[in-house]
Point group: D3
Chain length 292, copies 6
């Protein structure tokens, strides 16, 4: 697996996400992934099973979305060429656009579905007149034909957006989603299983995109567009593990961690760090004989 | 609906609540209530249905409780005269006394019940020798005859107060309450429905008073008298929505947010901001045809 | 009961625990334990029933583990000699070693079991080459024969340690434990009851050791080795109360609160403060006639 | 000398001063005043020469200025009766009114001058309609005849208040003052010597009142009404030492430290702690033979 | 005078400057400029002499430098058309480009000089490949012919940039500058007077541009590119006042305040707020008869 | 030059210094030392003249002073063997003991003098019974004969320690020092020149030890034992540059930066980062032809 930093945040509300690739690499008192890590629940030493490499940062710039996106696409492609599973650490959510595009370029259009944990649908046509932003990556992926709408499953939408017309557009694309209110009424585990079934209807491979604001702000204060009423960290870690255990995960990103708002304990950075470890552990457990 | 600031905090433990009317007006990255807000669960554009006006702050002073309370009473009365539903942003919890009094002056004694979410009962006879404080508003409302004790329902009481004698007094007044331990044993939704039934036994109208410390301090660190073991934000938002959906809500307050203790993410201010939006949305959904 | 400070933190990741005895004595807006405290759920005035005394701090030094541990052992022994239930406020988790040793010295080897709430098992043989540290107290207690492995019950283990070999060692000692994943699958209350049954199989007395990092970092950001995915404060308070209600509690410690990482609201210090109060209340309710 | 806490802040802009008596007692890594303190410049062990006693806090309440002021007056009088030099730790600046009044009641009207370091003159007739506040103590002392205007010397006034009319009133009372602009043009040491000469023209005794906001906010961020452009801590400590070395100091206060705004390092609390030590040291050096 | 917000920060190191127009409007416990403000040193009531109007924010967007700059140019032009002296609150330093351009469009090429307080020269040809950024506004103004190099005077340059080649380019343009080392060796007041003389050689009007990082980070922690070793706030306020007293000031900006890094006391925001007041006061004092 | 991290802080008041080697490597928005750095005052590109290498961290452990000190000694010796000038980033001040010892082992006893900027003399015989701590390194160096007392020059001592007896011991050793009061009375530049002359009386080589608490806490809040009344950053940078310009500097350390107390802007870390750059620049300017 290849850890890739994408330090850009041109297009967010509370900036600071650009600092996160650095923050996540420091989170976790156990240090960077090492051989002693053992996943209690999965009974696996993930980094003994999988080789995890720090691929460095994509060369993003605060002056040009296009240039930054190109750099991310290049870096992800390079990791894929090396046979790795890219793990992109945003940055803002616009990084999913070049990252997922690179993945589809390799695995084939229609072959890759996106499982997307987020408080927001990120399917706006434009924000402040710009069609490329942290509010639009999923729309651009659909409209450009990279990922068909029916291959999207979103979990955690809540609050006061998207609005009725945007939901209509999403429905027209065949997208599926599960709101926080669905989770409240059905329970998180039921929703999760539904989402996993939907995600695997069609695509051979899965791309996992985790916007840390899917967590309640109490669990992830350091993010650009906090929305009260989200998931607990325990729920998100369980979900990520389950996605990895499908055996179809070929790439992932974790985005929108903003250190300046994260407080002295770095809660969001710690949570994001564990999201990555949990995905690695799930993938590792498929390849290992846990009793050996 | 008329948003009214009541920036006073003479009578709290950790001060700072005076800054909250300003903080809540800035919370929510979507900005102040605008036409694009859409409530996902209720399928309504609340601010297209209801007119929401910022009525400004009551002219509170740090030197005189009486003067501050009079200013709040005047401002709330003015909003009621304009036909609005006043939404008072405290300030400390003593603001409920002048605010609810103004509401009862308009709707009639005995006509208005109070649904009160709080970690504390706020029914002390006096604190440090003062009968007017953030610990006494509910007692003063009852003793002055403005709201009969039987028209009070409290949700979220926990910790080490009130004590046995105070509960005895409350019981004698016919007050009803639901503690955090009741919520643990019965589940929040059961308790909520019981409370809603009780609240509507008698009064024609409801006044909603939300002390942000009903939330666990993890969800609302910025408050004057934090008590571990409280509600999640998701639970509180659901409760507020349910109160609004009774169709009987004529006024509300949200109190005890203290920005200096709220951390860089402003968790309590964000939560309080959503409490107001959730109430507005609930009321709006009653007046709209969601499928139009 | 005797409150004892143990301000040492030589052996942690993020230091600062040394400041906690001071922080906890200031937490709780109701001030230090006083006669007006009333436990709503247990219907008891705990400090009217039990005499709670501040025994001061053990004279710890940042230069010598041995010297600090001896000071803690002495102070706890002194409290026991006075007939008190010692409540040790760490400091790092290594304080459990001298504290529990003093308790066993008084009550007899094999007579005392340990109920241990923690994200970590603290059974490492050594850390950085040192056999005495915050990662090893439980191992040293077992190996020295002070507390047999079968008299340990641990609740809350999660994340990426201990590893398989360490679990094997623990199993060989007869230790019992309940992971966060057990809690997710069975529910907290089921796990808690199982743990309570196990804890009372054998020992006549119980020592309660609470590492504040058993809480999710959202509820206790101020700790040295935060692990996402932990308990809520409400769950921990319920558990502590249940342990106290067994009637077998003879000593306790609360450790690993680190004020510099706790944010302006002091969430972990507040939670730890309530842990102590909840234990006192549980013990008090056994000795009182709640209806008198 | 008797250290007295006056934890009140009803009457400030950014509240929090009420927490300062607690904060100052914890500031200074050397702990509370102890026998090993040695003043490098004055060659004296101040606490070997002078007995320094913590007299505890005056019983202030957030509900009543009158009650709080009476408590401060009582506590200061008690210290004076015991033959001590009272050192009052505010609290807001209104505490100077009851404190200096108590001192004058003992030493005689006209016998006591006030040396006042502050960014503000605190001579407003009223604030928000109240004649007793943190903006008025010096005026009340003058108007009540307790301290004649000519016995006041103020150092550090700056910014946008008082205004021309208030300066006219001050001039009419015979008050003397030195603004930050005077300090810029003449140099601090020249201004300090002028102020010391003026302060000793008439009164036999001196009362020193230090509002921590006389410091630039960079040196004392934790205060209620910060004004850019103030003194450095080194300058203030030198000034306090010089006042103490007059041999006429009979009481002092240090006010307006607000911990919630003071940042993790507690800069203002540390500075205020040293202000007290510096005064003690100056007084001690007069009574000791430094070469013995 | 017209206060204009320019909330953009695409092009900085530590983002957050976009929040500053909001922060400065809240800084200063005396509230927004009001009639009671009186400048002690200049003996003037500035807002009685000059009309100060809040012109609102230019409609900046995080997605487009060009669009944001156009909005700022329009807003400044609008203020100039109304006969006002525009006071632009950045935002990052790139705002000087559209703002000064608008001013020159009105007053004539060659007629306007720029007095520039900054730790940086902001004359880079490009940063990360972009010719429009917070590092280049002064170069673009010179190259576009809007302001000739000889009409620039810079004060406060320090640290490790610009480099030798850039200084050569600046010298070729006829620019003048004064480094922190010049200030150390000559004294601030000597340097200030030299700069004022140079600034008035040629241009009829002056534009004042204040990058808050000209202050030492102790006085202005909340900025994007802090450089240790800068001015004190008192020095900067004196300098601004002196510039205003030339009688030639027709516009100004204050830029690079970043609230997320500013700490709980908001030191940089407070300092910037006073910079604006000091300029207003200086201008007002020229138009008033201070003894009337 | 070889940058070496020494992340230990067993022996301090407010811990956290262990995190500093990481913090300093991130400070400075210009990134790690790079070829574009140009020192304005010295007209030199320091990293083009000198090769600066990150040698990594010494393997310190929180459990053993001896083990940590041995690791530092080894790492510094390794750098010296490679012909480099070691730059040790503490860690607490005890790191000077192994670091300076390694330097003397290479250059010869009596050949190396120590220029020491600090608020404290660090010559205590023992602290809490330990002879090795952050309060004793200079004493151990003298008593072990590694550096004769007459080869020490200390600048910046202030406050309430050392005491008279300790000064007597220091005087007996032939040590020289300059207190903050000396600086106030003579001016910093006079004191600096005196210290430089003294430092070069005898030794052929100089070791520079900078405790960041020599700065006033306003300039360096993030430190373990803050003492109000210290140097400005500009003064310290000037002093470090002057030491480097003697041409005798063969090693240096910068110690006692504690990130948890440093606030969101990281003032102390930024200052310490520049201390290192300033020393490098001074050394580089001696080896370059600035006009070439």
């Amino acid at each position: 697996m290849a850890i890739i930093g994408a330090p850009m945040d041109m297009v967010v509300n509370r900036p600071g996400a650009r600092f996160w690739p650095r923050a996540i690499r420091q989170a976790g008192y156990v240090g960077s992934p090492n051989d002693y890590l053992y996943h209690i629940g999965l009974d696996v030493y993930p980094t003994q099973v999988l080789k995890v490499v720090d691929f460095g940062d994509a060369m993003c710039t605060p002056f040009s979305l296009e240039q930054s996106h190109q750099a991310i696409n290049d870096k992800v492609s390079e990791a894929l060429d090396a046979g790795a599973v890219p793990v992109v650490l945003g940055g803002d959510h616009s990084v999913t656009l070049p990252s997922a595009t690179a993945v589809v370029q390799r695995y084939g259009v229609g072959k890759v579905g996106i499982v997307h944990f987020d408080a927001h649908a990120d399917t706006w046509d434009s924000l402040y007149g710009s069609r490329i932003s942290h509010g639009s990556p999923m729309r651009r992926l659909i409209e450009s034909g990279v990922v068909p709408g029916k291959n999207f499953v979103q979990v955690g939408l809540r609050g006061y957006a998207p609005d009725r017309r945007l939901f209509d557009w999403m429905r027209d694309q065949g997208m599926r989603w599960h709101t926080a209110l669905d989770i409240e009424s059905k329970g998180f585990d039921v929703v999760l299983e539904e989402a996993l079934v939907q995600a695997q209807e069609g695509p051979e491979y899965l791309y996992l995109s985790v916007d840390i604001d899917v967590l309640d702000p109490a669990f992830a204060p350091g993010t650009g567009t906090p929305k009260p009423g989200g998931l607990t960290t325990a729920e998100l870690l369980r979900a990520v593990r389950r996605v990895a255990l499908t055996g179809k995960l070929v790439a992932m990103d974790v985005v929108e961690v903003s250190p300046p708002y994260d407080g002295p304990a770095g809660l969001a950075a710690e949570a994001a760090h564990r999201v990555v470890l949990e995905a690695i552990s799930g993938m590792a457990s498929l390849r290992s004989d846990p009793q050996s």
